[in-house]
Subunit: 234 residues, 2 copies
């Protein structure tokens, strides 16, 4: 296919900028807050279960995480947690939202290079204001033709986005750190995917499925290797 015909979609969190490390530090502080009551494994397991139970209602993002953490803390202390400690959890959430954006190695260069020859889309899930703020802080916005902030990354979502921007699936390449959210749904539609694992993966993003569509899946260990894959595909 002609180079300019390839449209490239990018995930944001843990693909272009660090995110899960911020959650990791929040989990640590949450465990410390509850250490008098429960061991770390119990805290982690209960928080994750609360998040999963609330996911349909809250969706992804820091605000829902904060509400689930408050609920978990009340539950695990049988109501003995103090208001001051709950306020600490509220502050923890606020710090996550206000956290600086730290780009992954090569993100700015690679986007600038690829944007010269391809339409680039940003496709990310989470709280809309938070994702917009992170994009603004990243200073990467100008490279993207369109930005789509969605509530779930499944085949229906990608199909809607491709339809909306008149992109044939076979000329769409999605780049992201989650096989479950970034790669598998795009393969289902007939597109291609580049998986760039991040050192941390939220338990909810884990999948048993492997992405093995011949010639349509690539695994690289750095964004810096993306132009090489694009050159092969385009």
């Amino acid at each position: 296919m002609a180079a300019h015909d390839l449209v490239i979609g990018f995930d944001a969190d843990d693909t272009l900028w660090h995110n899960e490390n911020i959650f990791e530090r929040s989990h640590e502080r949450f465990r410390e807050l509850l250490a008098r009551h429960h061991d770390a494994a119990t805290v982690d397991r209960t928080l994750f279960a609360t998040e999963m139970r609330n996911l349909e209602l809250y969706g992804y993002g820091v605000k829902g995480f904060t509400l689930s953490a408050i609920e978990t803390a009340i539950h695990l202390t049988e109501g003995k947690i103090s208001a001051a400690e709950i306020q600490e959890i509220v502050e923890l959430g606020r710090e996550m939202l206000a956290h600086p954006v730290e780009l992954l190695d090569g993100a700015a260069d690679i986007l600038a290079t690829l944007a010269l020859r391809h339409r680039l889309l940003l496709i990310t899930k989470g709280d809309i204001r938070d994702q917009e703020r992170k994009l603004a802080k990243s200073e990467l916005a100008a490279h993207f033709h369109q930005v789509e902030i969605v509530s779930e990354k499944n085949p229906e979502t990608y199909a809607r986005i491709l339809r909306r921007h008149t992109i044939a699936p076979e000329r769409f390449l999605m780049v992201g750190n989650s096989v479950k959210s970034d790669i598998l749904p795009v393969l289902t539609l007939g597109g291609a995917g580049v998986h760039i694992p991040y050192r941390l993966l939220w338990e909810h993003e884990r999948t048993e499925e492997t992405a093995d569509a011949v010639g349509r899946v690539f695994v690289i260990d750095s964004l810096r290797k993306l132009p090489g894959v694009v050159a092969v595909l385009a």
Copy 2:
């Protein structure tokens, strides 16, 4: 202009379905929870101030409201509120998210009629998952050509949406209950607006400005009168 050339944008909350009445009931329950500590006016004033301080970080929607309510309750009781009472606030938020969608009079009929001759857009602000869920529950989704869930309704947002869907501002009509969010920014761009006041208006949506662009602003008291306005414009 030819009838089919007019594209009509709709706000959702308090324009197509009831919303502010749900917040009104939550405010009542929040006041009751704090009645031992403070009078209703102090509770309302402090909650609103907390919401406004957090708006930039949280954005619009029920999750941010819930977090602001928790923070307000801790502050107003000087940390004396119990974990069980905070859990009640968490539940209050969850009930708001799970609340049934009650359409405003005429919403389904009017959209069905207008969709026959016009492209209809839904343009709403708030938490993405919550707005999508309400749209699904409303059973109105099929009438809309596109749905845009945004973080803020200002001229930049509307300009981006009109560009994205290749709509000239002079053939765009926005329908909503908020002069500040639905009418003024669209008039700024050269579009037209139909203001349908709802019986309640969140303090943040109040504006001193009046929408007085001659021939481009209409005020009606029911969605049922919208086809009449559209007939004049189209």
